[in-house]
């Protein structure tokens, strides 16, 4: 069943994303089959959120680490991408400075801060986009898991982590654009970001990366490692007396998950056209937990389903009844917790059998 749902998920994600891209590029705006570009980027954004949800399900569903700060890793990946995109603007910025991004000129920076060097190189920026979240997760996880911090205490410190980053990135002297963050991107890898073809390409790239992350996650959870992880999640003490070191297992999966979240952030930023400290907001990470719960915790595919469903609902509700969204989200979470402990995927599987 799990293998089947994974296969269906990969086919659907790749198929629908390609179909949307083709219909966007190959048909005229007047055609009934035409998919507008805003829809392409909107779905692309959902898929990036799905990568974050998948990453979160890997740690929450399989290792019992309820991270309430996972959007921090997503945002860090996004910032690395944003820095690259800022450097690509060059003299096309408002101030026409070839080296310094607009916000630095505005804030009277004389030189590029040392940590901005190298980000004009796309390969370096992409490397940083996975390395920085991965390293942060490594240090944070090493300290937390080695000290046997778990459960609600761990959740609280993950929340503190993302909040601390939120406050730090708000500061102008951090050199990441402060409150406004980074925007007005022009092109990536030499391709104009406003072009339909680039947008369609980003959607397909998001779909491919989502499927790649899903397959990697599935490999991990179905391996012997994954069985140990489940054992650690439910009966940590027993695994220790069997000679396993739960902290090593948690650390590995936490770092892997952070890297995946970072990849999600990389694809997110060019599609939404902006990255600002709001992405670190604790509420964002909690929303991601709701996506996973709605779709079905500990199923991987459910996390993807939940992220897409809840975000599609959010797009609709915030457009049609903006004041209702937060109530709807809270109600949804209560409903799922009470009635659908295995989420929408669990409901589908029950309906099938």
């Amino acid at each position: 069943m799990n293998r089947l749902s994974t296969t269906i998920c990969v086919i659907l994600v790749l198929g629908l994303a390609s179909l949307m891209a083709i219909l966007n590029l190959a048909t005229d705006a007047g055609s009934a089959l035409h998919v507008p570009t805003y829809a392409v980027s909107l779905v692309g954004k959902y898929l990036c959120y799905a990568i974050l949800a998948l990453a979160l399900d890997l740690v929450w569903g399989y290792a019992g680490i309820l991270s309430l700060g996972h959007a921090a890793f997503f945002a860090l990946g996004g910032y690395a991408m944003g820095m690259y995109l800022m450097r690509q603007i060059g003299t096309r910025g408002v101030y026409g400075n070839a080296i310094l991004p607009d916000f630095m000129v505005f804030l009277n920076y004389k030189d590029l801060p040392w940590y901005w060097h190298g980000f004009d190189n796309p390969a370096f920026a992409l490397l940083m986009a996975v390395l920085v979240p991965g390293l942060l997760a490594l240090v944070f996880g090493w300290l937390a898991f080695r000290s046997r911090v778990s459960g609600v205490y761990l959740s609280i410190i993950t929340q503190a982590l993302t909040y601390a980053l939120l406050l730090a990135f708000f500061r102008n002297d951090m050199g990441f654009g402060g409150n406004n963050g980074m925007t007005d991107f022009k092109d990536m890898f030499g391709l104009p970001l406003q072009a339909d073809a680039t947008r369609a390409g980003l959607l397909v790239a998001s779909a491919v990366m989502l499927c790649a992350c899903l397959l990697v996650a599935r490999f991990v959870v179905t391996s012997r490692f994954g069985k140990v992880l489940i054992a650690v999640r439910d009966t940590e003490a027993r695994t220790r007396f069997l000679g396993y070191r739960p902290e090593s297992y948690k650390l590995f999966v936490f770092v892997l998950s952070a890297i995946m979240a970072g990849i999600g952030g990389v694809l997110y930023v060019p599609q939404v056209g902006i990255i600002n400290p709001g992405e670190f907001a604790p509420a964002g990470s909690i929303e991601a937990v709701i996506w996973v719960a709605v779709g079905g915790r500990g199923t991987l595919v459910g996390a993807i389903l939940g992220a897409v469903l809840v975000n599609a609902g959010k797009t609709y509700l915030t457009g049609a009844f903006p004041e209702l969204w937060l109530f709807a989200l809270g109600f949804l979470f209560i409903l799922v917790t009470l009635l659908l402990p295995k989420g929408v995927l669990g409901l589908l599987q029950r309906a099938r059998s």
């Binding site: 027993r238 069997l242 090593s248 297992y249």
Partner: protein, 251 residues
Amino acid sequence: MTIGPVSGSLLYLNGVSVSFDGFRAINNLSLVLEPGEMRAVIGPNGAGKTTMMDIITGKTRPNEGQVIFGAETDLTRLDEPAIAALGIGRKFQKPTVFEPLSVWDNVLLALAGDRRPRFSLWARETAEERDRIEEILGIIRLGELRTRQAAGLSHGQKQWLEIGMLLAQEPKLLLVDEPVAGMTDSETEQTAELLREINRTRSVVVVEHDMAFVRALGVKVTVLHEGSVLSEGSIDHVSCDPRVVEVYLGR
């Protein structure tokens, strides 16, 4: 009163004490276990039986005293996984198995072998492992239930699965905490048989409340009281000991 390890002993506790918030759970406890021996440890509630196991397995660090395993390994310096790797297995009072996993996978994860993530990530089940799991499932009489989720087993079956997992670990010493609590009479009998079987190749320490079961095991008994050894010897010897009678009946 530091004396060196008793030569040839498998486990040697010397003057071990541990306090929790001023309460002396273990008080100057000394105990020697010979290789291949099975020992029953009895005592009233709060006598320190489980704390003694916690100390041996590295869960609790004693304030004083030595815990020597084999020739000269000091267990008080090691943590749980390191002690498990030395060959000390532990069965909990409440059956503790990996509920979402199958019976087969429970034994698989317990099999002696590399415990590092980088190994388990790529590990494939070998024919050798399969044979060993089959063998263990035979011993614990769960061969028919190999694909069953452990959560669906009866209480007694879970106890056996846990014992099977300990066997899979191939320990030199097995610590078993109240193995027959909550078992039916026939399950209790089968468990005694199973422990005797295990004792043929390994040393065993059994903590138990059930006197009939201890009698059925027919091994040397250590009576704990208020964190130290009150009496030691055969079951008949200790049950005649006036101090033991006093502790058990005088409560």
